[in-house]
């Protein structure tokens, strides 16, 4: 399988703290890759560098279905246009918008009506709008929110907010989906439903790269797991092997004695 | 006058106005720091301070106090009195206008503040009349020539009073328990409430201190310029807001620096460029500065509004 995302020698510092230290990894097309590591290992920083939220100090991110293009220096919305969308660790929905509108925002890059055709009646714009609405409703169906499409996003229960965020990220039809701790804060039943959803997406051929703390979530669905600790990649491989890796065990046991290493 | 003397004189001129700006800007910035509110009514509190001080000065010159009290004693009493009055008013405004809507969208508080500004300004007009009031000045007209630069006792009083207050505030904020609670509240109001810090009281205290500083600014303003008017607070409030942003809003040393810098900019702008363009000049500098330092001279955090 060809690589879809290549991260090469990525380094990012915050003042004196090195959040990412020379990290190299890749995600192949159709794969589900888990990114694990103790708190403060640099997982979210890696996501932020990939999606353009943060500029890496060094190294390169490349992405593409055929020829690889460098993403370094691109703005987040350009990267979304390339086909990478994401969710956030602490859910960032547009809480003042309805559930449906949240998903519709994601279709922005797949629609093209300009200022004039948005202001005046135009058949083209109407057709496009109908397509976007259908797509959004389809995705809400997929995540089980079709019945609540007109509720305020901010008023949804937390578990549903997580699912809505996934639907929103999917609405631009991305090639690569980044999930930042999608199971955090969910109860057992919700976690189970989430696993099913990710499996389902995988079945449709979507490439997923996810950060997850809960081994019971990450192990069954990941084809491959990458482990970060102190900003460095310390292990990589199939879930089973990584779980037995002594460095990984040490990193995780070590964290139980330190309180928090978040920069 | 040599060009250098002229320049030094203009520096001294700018610093005087800047010190008053700084006093008002401090309150702006402290209130912004704890509840992220651009308190448009702050300029009006400054005017309330000025009018209360005027009333007290008039009372003390005509009233029951024995004559022969040194001028600084009179001013101290008047200053403290007006600070107390404005502080209480500030706390009352916070309690009855801002607290009930603290959890509403932030723009609401902004509009409330604007409404409060209209209200206070017109209340002052109705209470004290619309005409400019003469502000008697008990400070002797002493002046010194230092290397060709004239400095008046009045200017020294402005510098000393504002300097003392600023140092006092810095000590209060940095090394007392109350100051620590204020800083903590500015960092994260919710967390402070969870930790059992009496957030309401801290916010009220901030309003008291901020308004008292504005009142002191008002008295010095009245003394220095000799006339006050009910609508003076509008322009001064606007300038102080600019100063607070210039220094980095929410940042206490920033407000002092911002006030002084704005005073200097205006002074030098009027002195060397053109007085009719001086506000343009000051605003242009502000805009350019924000482009390069988007959080002001000393600012660290930036808040998103609306």
């Amino acid at each position: 399988m060809p690589a879809l995302l290549e991260v090469e020698r990525l380094t990012r510092r915050f003042g004196g703290v090195v959040a990412l230290d020379d990290v190299t990894l890749s995600v192949e097309q159709g794969e589900t890759v888990g990114l694990i590591g103790p708190n403060g290992a640099g997982k979210t920083t890696l996501f932020n560098c990939v999606t353009g939220v943060l500029r890496p100090d060094d190294g390169e991110v490349r992405f593409g279905r055929g020829p690889m293009e460098s993403l370094t220096g691109l703005a987040p919305h350009d990267i979304a246009q390339c086909g990478i969308t994401r969710t956030f660790q602490n859910v960032r929905l547009f809480s003042g918008m309805s559930v449906l509108e949240n998903v519709l925002v994601g279709t922005y890059i797949r629609t093209h009506a300009g200022l004039i055709s948005s202001m005046l009646p135009s058949a083209e714009a109407r057709r496009e709008e109908r397509w976007a609405q259908d797509r959004a409703m389809g995705l809400l169906e997929l995540v089980g929110l079709a019945g609540r499409s007109h509720e305020m996003a901010g008023a949804l229960p937390f578990g549903l907010q997580r699912r809505l965020e996934i639907a929103r990220a999917l609405s631009s039809d991305p090639a690569l989906l980044l999930l930042d701790e999608p199971a955090a804060g969910l109860n057992a039943a919700e976690k189970q439903a989430l696993l099913q959803l990710i499996e389902q997406l995988k079945g449709q051929g979507l490439t997923t790269f996810l950060i997850e703390h809960d081994m019971r979530v990450v192990m069954p669905i990941s084809d491959r797991v990458v482990v970060l600790d102190y900003g460095k990649k310390i292990a990589e491989g199939p879930p089973k092997l990584v779980q037995e890796n002594p460095r990984v065990i040490e990193a995780y046991l070590g964290t139980s004695t330190t309180v928090n290493r978040e920069p | 006058m040599t060009p250098l003397q002229l320049f030094c004189q203009q520096l001294a001129n700018g610093l005087t106005l800047g010190a008053i700006y700084a006093l008002i800007a401090l309150g702006y910035t402290m209130i912004y720091g704890v509840i992220q509110l651009i308190n448009f009514a702050h300029g009006e509190l400054f005017m309330v301070g000025a009018y209360v001080a005027l009333t007290l000065v008039l009372l003390s010159s005509a009233g029951p106090l024995p004559s022969g009290i040194p001028w600084w004693m009179t001013l101290l009493v008047c200053g403290l009195g007006s600070m107390a009055a404005a502080g209480m008013l500030g706390a009352a405004i916070e309690r009855f206008a801002y607290r009930p809507i603290r959890h509403a969208p932030r723009l609401n508080a902004l509009i409330t503040a604007i409404g409060m500004s209209f209200f206070l300004q017109n209340a002052l007009m109705l209470l004290y009349g619309a005409t400019d009031r003469h502000f008697p000045n008990p400070i002797p007209l002493t002046r010194w020539e230092v290397g060709g630069v004239t400095v008046t006792l009045m200017q020294l009083v402005v510098w000393a009073a504002s300097g003392l207050l600023m140092v006092g505030l810095q000590l209060l904020v940095m090394s007392t328990k109350l100051g620590m609670a204020m800083r903590a509240t500015a960092q994260d109001l919710k967390a402070c409430a969870l930790l059992g810090i009496p957030v309401d009281r801290i916010i009220a205290t901030t309003f008291v201190i901020g308004s008292a500083f504005a009142a002191m600014g008002g008295m010095l303003f009245g003394l220095h310029y000799g006339t006050i008017n009910f609508h003076d607070g509008y322009l001064m409030g606007l300038k102080a807001f600019t100063a607070a942003v210039l220094g980095g809003i929410g940042n206490i040393p920033g407000a002092m620096v911002g006030g002084l810098v704005l005073g200097l900019l205006e002074g030098l702008g009027a002195g060397y460029l053109s007085s009719q363009w001086k506000n343009v000049f000051a605003f242009l500098i502000l805009v350019v500065l924000l482009l390069f330092k988007p959080r002001g001279l000393l600012g660290e955090r930036v808040a998103d509004r609306a």
């Binding site: 987040p76 919305h77 979304a80 994401r86 956030f88 660790q89 960032r92 929905l93 547009f94 809480s95 003042g96 918008m97 509108e101 519709l104 925002v105 922005y108 009506a113 200022l115 948005s118 202001m119 976007a132 305020m152 901010g154 631009s172 | 912004y32 992220q36 603290r102 509403a104 969208p105 932030r106 723009l107 509009i111 409330t112 604007i114 409404g115 409060m116 209209f118 209200f119 206070l120 300004q121 017109n122 007009m125 109705l126 960092q187 942003v245 009719q276 363009w277 506000n279 343009v280 605003f283 502000l286 805009v287 924000l290 482009l291 959080r295 955090r301 930036v302 808040a303 509004r305 609306a306």
Partner: protein
């Protein structure tokens, strides 16, 4: 669908009532107050795009109004452009100045943007006062032509200083702009604006080009104000810099907030209320601005989300403390 029809009916009733009003009550003073309030509504609609939808706190909106008024005024005085043509460049110039202001200003965020826009408003006003050879200085532009309209059988009619024609002009313009704003707010662009207001980072990660859309919002808002400015200039016949002070920017902002951020009928209603309130309070003479301030405070307390606002957590005060991930 039911709700939609209901709303259409309500809008239709509103429009018919507005059109019939001058016939029922031809008092020129009442019409003039209403015309001014509707002009405010036009401004509020424009500012609503910037503040209400895109979430950019703008405190210098009067500058765009001024630019529109002066553009039409100068075109009319120097090159005799009639109102109906002159209002187009007025809107375009004001819109472009919105974009030009945005290019540097939008690099600063949040409350800092507020002060930059405030500075912009003051700079424009002072510049119009000082650039005497072009703008007439404090005297402003005098003798700007009123609109003329050709009515079959009655020939060319000058609007003059009558009240009714301006009422209809402003009424129709406001209605047209309101319709455009409604369409815009329900389009992909409007949704992207709201997304930026709610969470800029999330919006940009969903592919919304934030800067470009903010500039667009400034441009559209500026153009609407420019249009309003041209109407204002043609109605007054004179344009002086003191019509465009900071208080005007603040008042329009208050109207948008009172109506409910992002709500179009809210912006109109807020403007009608706040725009005519000072006239309604005339009876109280010197106390009226005091009462006006008090009313603003009370209204904010009674309806924190505005008359037609959706309550939204995205605007909650603790937002400032949420750091980015």
């Amino acid at each position: 669908m039911e709700g939609f029809r209901n709303q259409t009916v309500r809008w239709a009733i509103g429009v018919i009532a507005a059109l019939a009003l001058p016939i029922l009550n031809p008092n020129p003073y009442h019409l003039d107050v209403l015309t001014n309030a509707l002009l405010y509504a036009l401004l509020a609609l424009g500012l609503n795009l910037i503040v209400g939808l895109a979430g950019l706190l703008h405190l210098g909106y009067a500058a765009f109004f001024a630019i529109g008024a002066y553009t039409y005024g100068l075109l009319n005085l120097h090159w005799h452009w009639p109102f109906w043509i002159g209002m187009i460049p007025a809107a375009i110039v004001a819109g472009l100045s919105g974009v030009c202001l945005g290019v540097p200003a939008l690099r600063v965020r949040g409350d800092y943007l507020a002060i930059v826009t405030l500075g912009f408003g003051e700079i424009v006003r002072i510049a119009f006062t000082n650039l005497e050879q072009w703008t007439g200085g404090p005297n402003g532009l005098l003798g700007i032509a009123h609109p003329k309209i050709w009515i079959p059988g009655r020939g060319l009619i000058d609007f003059g200083v009558a009240s009714m024609p301006y009422y209809y002009l402003v009424c129709i313009t406001t209605a047209a702009v309101a319709v455009v704003c409604v369409r815009l707010s329900r389009s992909r662009i409007g949704r992207a604006w709201v997304a930026i207001r709610e969470d800029e980072l999330a919006a940009s990660c969903m592919g919304v080009p934030v800067l470009q859309l903010k500039l667009l919002a400034q441009g559209c808002g500026g153009a609407i104000a420019g249009l309003a400015g041209a109407i204002f200039a043609s109605k007054q016949g004179t344009v002086t810099p003191d019509s465009f002070d900071f208080i005007l920017s603040v008042m329009v902002l208050a109207m948008v907030v009172l109506g409910g951020l992002g709500s179009i009928r809210g912006a109109i209603l807020g403007a009608l209320l706040l725009g005519s309130l000072p006239e309604l309070l005339r009876w109280f003479e010197q106390y009226r601005m005091l009462l006006f301030g008090l009313t603003m405070i009370v209204m904010m307390r009674l309806r924190p989300q505005g008359l037609f606002g959706r309550s939204s957590q995205g605007l909650a005060p603790d937002r400032a403390h949420a750091g980015s991930a």
